[in-house]
């Protein structure tokens, strides 16, 4: 048995944060797509739900909310909500469960004993979220357009709105996931703690249920959380302009979407910075 000969490691600098972060991203994406449960419950779930709702409720043809509004297909109606759900699942749920598991099974402790910087670790996580959420959104749009005949917008300004709602939404969602990952005490409880939070948010924020049909007080509760604003931003992009009358104040109110998501992004950043530790506690 031989071991390669040693020269002192002194004098050589550790690899840069960006390079290591990209190195970690590759590893994270590889791991993500090998985990069958994550691929289904995080990556494919919104696509699966879009298909289910479209098929289950679409049998009677298009729906009409009011005489003055144009009819819309079920797939067209659910697409914005599912895109928003994708942001929540790929950012918040994915990272919260992932990091809680890594903390509990000792992966973080092991990484904490190496020269990997926490910044590079997070570049890896954010990179994984970026890659998977973009692929997920592309898949959702493709399924909606090609399988269910949803007409996607052609105006560049709508896609510009999509870009910033997506970018702010996924970043805030990912940072909040990092912050919340400190809550579960064990790997086993991670899913049990995180998934119900995500599920309740999806029900009250206009993902599974049409937001305008929820009682006002529930809409007000939902307005406190970021998912409602992601869904509202996505509706502004993908629904016909006439549908704005169904919103609170009868307008898309993109300024409020911007302010709400930016606020949650800052809250997430501060909370993630304050709560993240390689170890559960440093006694």
């Amino acid at each position: 048995m031989t071991v390669p000969t040693t020269a002192s490691a002194r004098g050589a600098a550790i690899p840069g944060v960006v390079r290591t972060g990209i190195h970690r991203t590759r590893f994270e994406v590889l791991q993500y797509f090998r985990a069958g449960d994550t691929v289904f419950f995080t990556f494919l779930f919104p696509v699966f739900m879009l298909a289910l709702f479209s098929v289950a409720f679409g049998a009677d043809g298009d729906v009409r909310f009011a005489p003055e509004l144009p009819a819309i297909s079920m797939a067209g109606l659910y697409l914005p909500g599912m895109l928003a759900a994708g942001l929540l699942l790929s950012g918040f749920q994915n990272l919260a469960v992932d990091i809680a598991t890594e903390r509990s099974d000792g992966t973080l402790k092991r990484l904490g004993g190496t020269p990997l910087s926490p910044v590079a670790y997070f570049i890896g996580k954010i990179g994984q979220v970026a890659v998977t959420s973009v692929l997920q959104a592309a898949l959702l749009l493709a399924v909606a357009a090609f399988a269910f005949g949803v007409a996607l917008p052609t105006e560049p300004e709508r896609w510009l709105t999509f870009a910033w709602v997506f970018a702010l939404g996924i970043t805030a969602s990912a940072l909040l996931g990092v912050a919340v990952s400190a809550l579960p005490r064990t790997a086993k409880s991670a899913t049990a703690v995180i998934v119900p939070i995500a599920l309740v948010l999806q029900f009250i924020s206009g993902v599974y249920l049409t937001f305008s049909q929820l009682p006002d007080w529930l809409q007000d509760v939902a307005a406190f959380f970021p998912l409602k604003w992601m869904a509202q931003g996505m509706r502004a992009v993908f629904l016909p302009d006439a549908f704005a009358v169904l919103e609170r104040g009868e307008e898309w109110n993109l300024l409020s979407v911007l302010i709400a998501l930016a606020t949650w992004l800052v809250v997430g950043l501060v909370a993630a910075r304050l709560t993240f530790r390689w170890l559960r506690r440093d006694a």
Binding site: M1, S8, I14, L30, R34, E102, G113, T114, P115
Partner: protein, 293 residues
């Protein structure tokens, strides 16, 4: 370059009101293999985790590769290798993928394939880690510990769960690292392992250092005085003496016959270790009694 890899002076660690480590002092020379022995809960793991930078000390002074682990940065971590007691493995990736990942963290990593060969996992290199046996996963742990070409390697109970064959192969790997000049801090329950691998050892019990020195001198000369055992009138007798043969001859003459069940033994490392640890238990009990007063 300083000649010591590790210097620990008067190290103390308290959790709330409980003292886990109570004034431990030792040094480890560069290139040395040093064993930390002691029962569970004795303070070994706490001591090692302070050296590794995982825990903060409550008192005393610690230098690891000349750096205070409490403020050791990433450059300092790049010079260490840490094999923790039991850690979760990234089960979905292969041995080679996992080693490549870790190699990317270090400035001058060892060659991934050479390390895989050194831990004897060539045939499992492209197998997902979750599919390996417990002993094979432990070898992955060790491989991850040495991939960064560490100057100082911490091994926390590295061979727990190994079969005898795997343990022998592991010892060969450690000897190759020793020959390479790597300083090794070995925590183990297996005294034979410590005796085979370590130059010196410290015995820690009840948070204090009970003994420190070369394995064959641990506990001092008095702990190694041979024992003559025999039965006389149905009762087991024993006598510790530096001249066991003369004693046995005199005994035989006194009895006028061959002594029943006569044996002359030198205390094994295990006997000496157990004596040291049991003494500590008594000391700890007394200390608790005094605290209670």
């Amino acid at each position: 370059m300083d000649t010591h890899a590790v210097q620990v002076t008067g190290l103390r660690k308290t959790y709330g009101g409980r003292t886990a480590v109570d004034g431990i002092t030792f040094e480890i020379a560069r290139g040395e293999t040093f064993a930390l022995l002691g029962p569970n809960g004795a303070g070994k793991s706490t001591t090692v985790e302070i050296l590794e930078g995982y825990r903060r000390r409550s008192g005393g002074d610690v230098r690891v590769l000349g750096v205070d682990p409490g403020v050791g940065g990433l450059d300092w971590k790049a010079r260490l290798g840490i094999v923790l007691q039991s850690t979760g493995q990234a089960g979905l990736v292969t041995v080679r993928e996992q080693l490549r990942q870790f190699a990317g963290f270090y400035p001058r990593p060892r060659d991934v394939d050479e390390v895989i060969a050194a831990v004897g996992l060539q045939r499992q290199a492209d197998t997902r880690i979750a599919k390996l046996s417990g002993g094979q996963q432990r070898r992955v742990d060790v491989a991850l510990g040495v991939i960064g070409r560490p100057e100082l390697l911490f091994l926390d109970e590295p061979t727990t769960g190994f079969d005898p064959q795997a343990r022998r192969e592991f010892w060969d790997l450690i000897r190759a690292l020793q020959a390479d000049g790597t300083t090794i801090v070995l925590t183990t329950h297996y005294l034979d392992e410590a005796a085979r691998l370590a130059d010196r050892a410290a015995v820690i019990a009840a948070g204090r250092l009970r003994a420190l020195g070369a394995l064959d001198r641990l506990g001092g000369p008095e702990a190694r005085v041979p024992i003559v055992r025999w039965r006389e009138a149905g009762i087991a007798r024993a006598e510790r003496t530096d001249r066991p043969l003369a004693f046995a001859t005199a005994l035989s003459a006194r009895l006028g016959a061959e002594p029943e069940q006569l044996e002359i033994v030198r205390p094994s490392l295990e006997d000496i270790y157990l004596d040291l640890v049991q003494d500590a238990g008594v000391v700890a009990d007394l200390a608790t009694a005094e605290d209670a007063r």
